[in-house]
């Protein structure tokens, strides 16, 4: 539904997006992840026809966003980051205006607005002026606006930023419930939101794509899984424990903690962890060693995020 091909956007001399390519399939919820200033909003603005790309191509639902912008905009709804609303309209009036602008036929408008208000949970503030609703409601009014024309594609730019945990939870649940019926590009720098909501992640940093895949794929690709053992033994005995197990590298040892040493051995990508852990446990029992933990540590999204936004780019784009 969304195809981005070698997209470049320059602002003056600054390259905000650099040869970015990714796709979002129908019904998929893709997390568009990156630190602030990574080029997420710029990419989204090209997709929504706000900016023109410097070079490259973007296609939304089969329509080129530059040459056939109006057709592509008919099929997508966009929620900008700070959720701008007209201050002098009431919530319901605002949603009616937006529904009409987006081409919802007159006789369906009332029902469409009611449904969107219901979905986004803003029914109780429908008579309030847009500038009088709280931040959380404001965000949800924006979501109701995005939903009111029931568009096949939704582009949400930081829909959970600035909200408290409960409000964020509600929005995550709402977005999650759209899977299958809508294609969603969910931009965020809040990792837990992306982790919970998205099927797949596209991560960019400084305008360049750094990763693209499901969380599990990313974890395997990045190969930062490690086996951790905390054991009462000296360094040589601990190293001997790790020695000769397939796929397990030499451990790093952390300083002694009350007679115990924490050893962290990297597990090669693609190697199944179970047999390795079993073998380690057997060795610990065989050596009659006291231990506190034996387990597989998988990288959290935070760790991947940190390593990707400081490390080198994923090489698939380089060709």
């Amino acid at each position: 539904m969304i195809e981005v091909e070698a997209l470049v956007k320059d602002y003056g001399g600054l390259r905000a997006v650099d040869r970015l390519s990714f796709e979002v399939a129908e019904g998929e919820i893709v997390g568009f992840l990156g630190p602030n200033g990574a080029g997420k909003t710029t990419t989204i603005r090209v997709l929504t026809g706000y900016h023109a790309a410097t070079s490259g191509r973007a296609v939304v639902a089969g329509h080129d966003v530059f040459t056939d912008s109006l057709a592509s905009r008919r099929l997508l709804s966009y929620l900008p980051e700070n959720v701008p609303l007209y201050p002098d309209l009431r919530v319901e009036e605002y949603l009616r205006f937006r529904a009409a602008l987006k081409g919802v036929p007159r006789r369906e408008r009332r029902a469409a607005v009611a449904l969107a208000m219901e979905q986004a949970g803003v029914v109780e503030v429908r008579r309030k002026l847009c500038n009088q609703v709280s931040r959380g409601y404001r965000q949800r009014v924006g979501l109701a606006d995005a939903l009111v024309s029931a568009p096949p594609i939704l582009i949400l730019d930081e829909p959970t930023s600035g909200l408290d945990p409960i409000q964020r939870g509600r929005i995550r649940t709402l977005v999650r419930s759209l899977a299958g019926r809508h294609t969603v590009l969910f931009s965020s720098h809040i990792l837990s939101d992306v982790e919970e909501v998205c099927d797949r992640i596209v991560l960019i940093h400084e305008g360049v794509k750094r990763a693209d895949g499901t969380l599990a794929e990313l974890a395997t690709q990045l190969g930062r899984r490690e086996v951790r053992v905390e054991v009462a033994a000296d360094g040589d005995r601990v190293r001997a424990l790790f020695d000769g197990l397939d796929g397990l590298g030499a451990p790093e040892l952390d300083a002694e903690r009350g007679g115990f040493v924490l050893a962290r051995g990297p597990l090669a990508p693609g190697v199944e962890a179970g047999p390795v852990l079993d073998a380690l446990a057997a060795r610990l029992r065989g050596g009659d060693l006291a231990f506190r933990q034996v387990h597989l540590h998988e990288p959290s999204l935070e760790e991947m995020f940190a390593s990707l936004t400081s490390g080198a780019r994923v090489e698939e784009d380089a060709a």
């Binding site: 603005r45 706000y50 905009r73 900008p80 701008p84 201050p87 602008l101 081409g103």
Partner: protein, 255 residues
């Protein structure tokens, strides 16, 4: 279908004018100052004036000429500047509506509201002709052409205001620029004309005459005269300014 979306925008913009308290302040002040001028006209008429002169003078008063220059900037300063400041501009231009429909929609709404502001002065005309007031029939021709001139100049200045509003996110700056423009073509064009009298250039004097909007009003429209040259001037310059505004709205793409 696309025209339908423009009308959706016109309706929303008109609504925004109607719920904005500033609109009513403008309406009140305009009619207060006009009231003072009309009062003097009525006094003059009772001293033995005639209906034709009254009709010619009805809009040819300083309050009206000031309002013609001041109203369009006040009505249009927010049009794009405020949308850019609050960010709704991004929502508007990414909705399935084309840039020229946005510009035309906003212009049409401002023009309709501008017309609405002059409505009381037209109603006053009806009252003035009542038997218990002046009790005379005022000639329709000069009053019609006077309002025509007012609306034509209004459409140009509203387009100018929209253009300046589209250049900035600061509505004060937008209004100042368009007031300066209005005052410029109103007050400084006579200076230009005086300057070119000596130069003896047909081209320059024709140009000065075309730019002398005050003379268009005072010597032509307010006296019941219509020059097609003037009509062409207002329609084409309005179209030009609207075109420039569309380009300015589109310019966001190339930033």
């Amino acid at each position: 279908m696309s025209g339908g979306r423009m009308l959706v925008l016109v309706r929303k913009e008109l609504w925004s004018y109607l719920v904005n308290p500033v609109s009513y302040v403008i309406l009140f002040l305009l009619n207060l100052y006009r009231g003072a001028d009309v009062y003097n006209l009525v006094l003059g008429f009772r001293d033995g004036g005639d209906a034709d002169l009254f009709a010619i003078g009805y809009l040819n008063v300083s309050s009206t000429l000031t309002a013609v220059v001041l109203l369009p900037p006040l009505l249009t300063m927010k049009a794009f500047a405020e949308e850019k400041r609050t960010g709704t501009f991004e929502l508007l231009v990414t909705a399935p509506i084309q840039d020229h429909e946005i510009v035309l929609g906003k212009w049409l709404a401002s023009w309709l509201f501008y017309g609405l502001l002059w409505l009381p002065s037209m109603l006053v005309l009806v009252v003035l002709q009542a038997p218990w007031f002046l009790g005379v029939g005022l000639p329709f021709g000069p009053l019609f052409t006077a309002y025509l001139g007012l609306f034509l100049l209004g459409s140009l200045l509203l387009a100018v205001g929209l253009f300046f509003s589209s250049l900035t996110d600061n509505q004060l700056l937008a209004s100042l620029a368009s007031i300066l423009f209005g005052v410029g073509i109103f007050a400084f064009a006579p200076l230009l004309q005086r300057g070119v009298v000596d130069v003896d250039s047909d081209f320059l004097s024709v140009l000065a005459d075309q730019l002398l909007v005050r003379n268009h009003l005072r010597l032509w429209f307010f006296r019941g005269l219509i020059d097609t040259g003037h009509l062409v001037f207002y329609v084409s310059t309005t179209a030009l300014l609207l075109f420039l505004t569309v380009r300015s709205v589109e310019a966001r793409k190339w930033r």
